[in-house]
Amino acid sequence: MTKRIDQEQEVFPSHSAIPLIGVDTGGTFTDLVMVRGDELRTWKLPSTPADPSRAVLEGVRRLVGDAPAFVFHGSTVATNALLEGKGACVALVVTEGFRDLLLIGRQNRPDLYALHPRRTEPLVPGERVVEARERVLPNGEVAVPLLAEQIAKIVTAVSKTGASSVAVCLLHSYAMPEHESALTEALEREGLEVSASSRILVEFREFERASTTVVNASVSPIMGQYLERLQSALPGSTLRIMQSNGGAIRPRTAAKEAVRTILSGPAGGMVGAFAAARRAGFDRIITFDMGGTSTDVGLCAGEIPFTAEAVVAGWPVKVPMIDIHTVGAGGGSIARLDEGGALRVGPQSAGADPGPACYGRGEEATVTDANLCLGRLLPESFLGGRMPLFPERAQAAVERLARGARLPVEKMAEGIVEVAEETMAAALRVVSIARGHDPRDFTLLPFGGAGGLHACSLAETLGMRRILIPVGPGLLSAFGLVVADTVRDYSLSVLIPGETGEKALKELFYPLEERARQEMKDEGALEDDIELVFSLDLRYRGQSFEVNVPFSKDFRNAFHRRHEALYGYCDEGREIEIVTVRLRSRVPGHSPAFGGEPRRGELTRLRDSQVRIDAELVHCPIYLRETLPLQAQFEGPALIVEESATHLVRPGWRAKMTRQGCVVLER
């Protein structure tokens, strides 16, 4: 059944015969997944960085021709505009006396031991900062009103800067947004795009709010142009854009609040991983996405976790995003011996160019080269055999290092893997142990091309006993886009006592709720489908970091318990402060079945090979993933090879297929 909703006649993608497409634009490849009823198709093609929409459109046409579709898109347009400094020309309006707000920041330097400390160049240079004579106090009282002639002066000054996009961030605007609203109206009348901090991030701490707002002002126009191009090339289709919080929004919203899409890439992967895990019957997972230069890890204890503490290209971006921890170790990380005689791996990476030595151009040994030397990667089936590898180059590169350390080459290759795995294990500890979770209660879910090579070893280091290898580990982000919910987040800094009554709190939530319902309807949602999740950021009065707990009658107790789990103690006699109230509105997305029919028949091995594990050369069968029959079981050591990834089943682990086509490893 098709539901018609708003004036745009958009169909909200809940259930229909119209194909659903997930398109994930990555640095190297654009991945697509299409679901139509029971039909599942995937496609991978090189990205087109100069205009990413080219690859997107080509992929969509490849899958559905010119037929209308729901296209869920994870885009890096906003991120790249920020990282490459190609955002819009932005002006910033701040309260009088604080013109250098962005430049001074938190006054610290990023590198403690830099002989020449440097900071990121502000996105808005001094000559495009305009001061507004006005002042609001912490309680929302106006100390200096913003007069009409002052507004006129500011509009003139902003126009003179030549900026096309304006960020407005006035002190305490979270408590009293009217000054920002008045400025926004006046500036919009001049045809300028305006990002008001009291719309983008209604929270206290002026630098972080200003930074988030300025990033939004910088990337939104670029995102807007891109989405316009894309939509006009897909006239019959409905487009949804992935946000960093793992939920999708419509293009019109994304174009105004593009800062919410800044870290959407890894978010898609996490959503896809969690959806795959839930289908397989696991809801406590640690995800582990190993790419070429870095590895993203995340932990879901029954739900996807969020944070608002990200820093992108040196700028705080405080919108809610899926909590993902990134470390600089990946397949392309370069190994070297340092002056003190320790083996270092990364953070320098051979990247895509020249790439690991075994790709044919690079000279330095990388983690991928080490895996190849150890027999854990098969040269003939890398990327489905489409990419030739040169094992002799890998061998030579690792040998050079081994000579320097006076170690046998095999030992060096194992060492490179061990050091890289130590960095990844540290990342897994950060998201689990350091946040009060015992990794032994979780299933490890590796994805990305190389995740499966290191999963067993990492699980052993952390005491974990189960690994879930999802279907299409190289395309999980695109899968995640298809199943993503529609999500919008709202927050309001209140800084009130923890004893505040339930009724008063509900009153604080009310305007947020009203806005959420209206905007969800604008997104095309039906009233009945909207789910609202209320939560509070709490701390002991006097602390500076908050802990988020769901809003309930018992929230104070829940806070004490969470504080204890996180930090090892709580203090029930101490006064609590409610810093921020948060509301998440959500409309559940799709849950199509992936994986298709499981195969029947005998377990057959592709061939056998020699693989180096724990300082010994062991005999190791190789299985092709697509030929694994349902209920197949086998013991490690073994290699499982598929088009987008290779998995190492270490001795002591037993592999079996699930009905959904996943491989579960247990020990």
Binding site: R106, H172, F204, G341, S544
Partner: protein, 526 residues
């Protein structure tokens, strides 16, 4: 047995993430703005000989000084499993009184501890003659409660009597209790991680690699020193005054480089002074360790081995190695910056193409304390950034924390929520950076209005002597402190304390950084 480069790297990372995790717990649960917002704390792991194996890179001024705290705890000679020792006495392991250090011995069988964990955190107040405990004092007794190494936890039980005694002697005792709990929680996390490591690698192997890491640090530092030309390099500079009416106070050093070894000689420094700018030797060691660390490549370890190739000579009774009962409140925050200035000045003679000009050279410490509108006591403390020195690589950064501190500012919106204060202006101070081929960074201008009567204490320097420029670059502008009361404007001394009134405006302008290289542009062209 030989040392495996692979295991060395693995354990190095494991030790340092243990310290990082301790720091995260401390920061997120503390109450003192100095700890939670400005990250004025450090966490470290020591081996059984009290040699520092790893330290999370938090605040440089703690770098070289933590080992003395562990040594002082050890001197008790009675540490048992489940104990934790608290101290802040500068003459027994501390630096200045607000810095409280918690040392936990970690046993794995045996009579002697196999490791020690320590964390040091700057508490907002430890009593004494002025709120914030950074007074213009003339003897240590005025600066607050002095805590020799005492067992605050015995056999796993917190000594509540002792805690009560401590808290009765400080302002806002309830918050200090919160900070103390945060410090205890941090060491507990460290203990857990250490136990996991020992379970995994075995005790002997963990100890062996801890010791190998010290050798590793030594070797790395030798490489750094070897890259400096052999020779003898001297420099001198001054502190404006001692805060008790005398000055300037001269600091001199001579750096002797011979191959892979360095000697830093401070014996030419002025004798200890009546005012509060005396530094204990621990601080001088920290400054030396920081400066050599600046010259080292990225990813350099922080451990006791790094200091082995460096000999530091100080004379007891001088301003860089003061003896009891000298006042020390400002040694940590001001004198430490000048020690860095003279060391870098000396090294600039050896490696002129690498060393930048002087940075602002003062932390511009501001403390405001009094009663808030609700009748409670408040203490606000902050250090204010200045300009960084320019160098061969380009102009100095503006409005940035330099050298021995890297503490964050309190957001204006957070500050106005928490204290009866209003910030009227917070911006760069144009034209304060020294001229030169590369200009020095600009200082900061911060104007704060009191909404209630309160006691103000300023502990700042470089209000008379300017941050030097190098290779022909001009000096940075000196800082200024002013009081605006109605129409009346009063110039304040660099170090002063007075009773402020509601409506008073305090305007602090911090020094700019020194310029670098001759200005080749024609006059007037900036």
């Amino acid at each position: 047995m030989s040392i495996d480069p692979i295991r060395l790297e693995v354990l190095k990372n494991r030790f340092s993430s243990l310290c990082e995790e301790m720091g995260a717990v401390l920061m997120r649960t503390a109450f003192s703005p100095n700890i939670k917002e400005r990250r004025d704390f450090s966490c470290a792991l020591f081996d059984g000989n009290a040699e520092m194996v790893a330290q999370a890179a938090h605040i440089p001024v703690h770098l070289g000084s933590m080992p003395m705290a562990v040594a002082a705890a050890l001197e008790r000679g009675d540490l048992a499993s489940g104990d934790a020792v608290l101290l802040n006495d500068p003459y027994r392991g501390g630096t200045h009184l607000p810095d409280m250090t918690l040392v936990t011995p970690v046993f794995f069988g045996g009579k002697k501890p196999a490791f020690y964990l320590a964390n040091r955190a700057h508490h907002a107040d430890v009593g004494g003659m002025s709120a914030g405990s950074l007074p213009l004092s003339t003897e240590i007794f005025q600066e607050g409660l002095r805590i020799p190494p005492v067992k605050i936890v015995k056999g796993g039980v917190l000594d509540e009597d002792l805690v009560d005694l401590l808290l009765a002697n400080v302002r806002t005792g309830d918050e200090r209790r919160g900070d103390l709990y945060a410090q205890l929680a941090a060491n507990r996390v460290g203990e857990r991680r250490l136990a996991e490591m020992v379970a995994h690698f075995g005790l002997e192997e963990t100890r062996r690699y801890a010791s190998a890491l010290l050798d590793y640090g030594e070797k790395m530092m030798e490489g750094v020193i070897a890259s400096i030309p052999d020779g003898c390099y001297s420099f001198q500079d001054v502190l404006d005054d001692d805060g008790a009416g005398s000055g300037p106070v001269a600091l001199r050093c001579t750096v002797r480089i011979a191959g892979r070894r360095a000697e830093v000689d401070f014996s030419g420094c002025d004798g200890q002074v009546a005012g509060c700018v005396n530094a204990v030797r621990a601080i001088t060691l920290s400054a030396v360790s920081y400066v050599f660390r600046l010259l080292a490549p990225e990813g350099f370890p922080s451990n006791a081995g790094c200091m082995r190739p460096i000999t530091v000579k100080t004379l007891a009774g001088t301003v860089v190695d003061c003896v009891f009962p000298a006042a020390v409140a400002g040694g940590n925050v001001e004198t430490s910056q000048r020690i860095v200035d003279i060391l870098l000045g000396a090294l600039a003679k050896a490696i002129p193409a690498a060393v930048p000009s002087a940075s602002c050279g003062s932390m511009s410490n501001l403390t405001i304390g009094g009663r808030d509108g609700k009748g409670g006591l408040f203490t606000y403390y902050e250090t204010i950034a200045g300009g960084a020195g320019a160098g061969p690589a380009g102009r100095g950064a503006s409005g940035i924390q330099t050298h021995m501190t890297n503490t964050l500012n309190t957001p204006v919106e957070a500050l106005e929520h928490a204290y009866p204060l209003r910030v009227r202006r917070y911006r760069l101070r144009e034209g304060s950076g020294g001229r030169g081929r590369h200009r020095g960074g600009e200082g900061v201008e911060k104007e704060i209005e009191l909404l209630t009567d309160a006691r103000i204490t300023l502990l700042s320097d470089r209000r008379v002597s300017r941050p030097y420029g190098l290779q022909g670059g001009g000096a940075g502008a000196v800082g200024r402190n002013r009081l605006l009361r109605g129409e009346e404007e009063t110039e304040l001394a660099g170090k002063c304390t007075f009773q402020g009134r509601a409506g008073d405006r305090l305007c602090i302008e911090t020094p700019g950084g020194g310029g670098w290289g001759e200005d080749l542009a024609p006059e007037g062209d900036v």
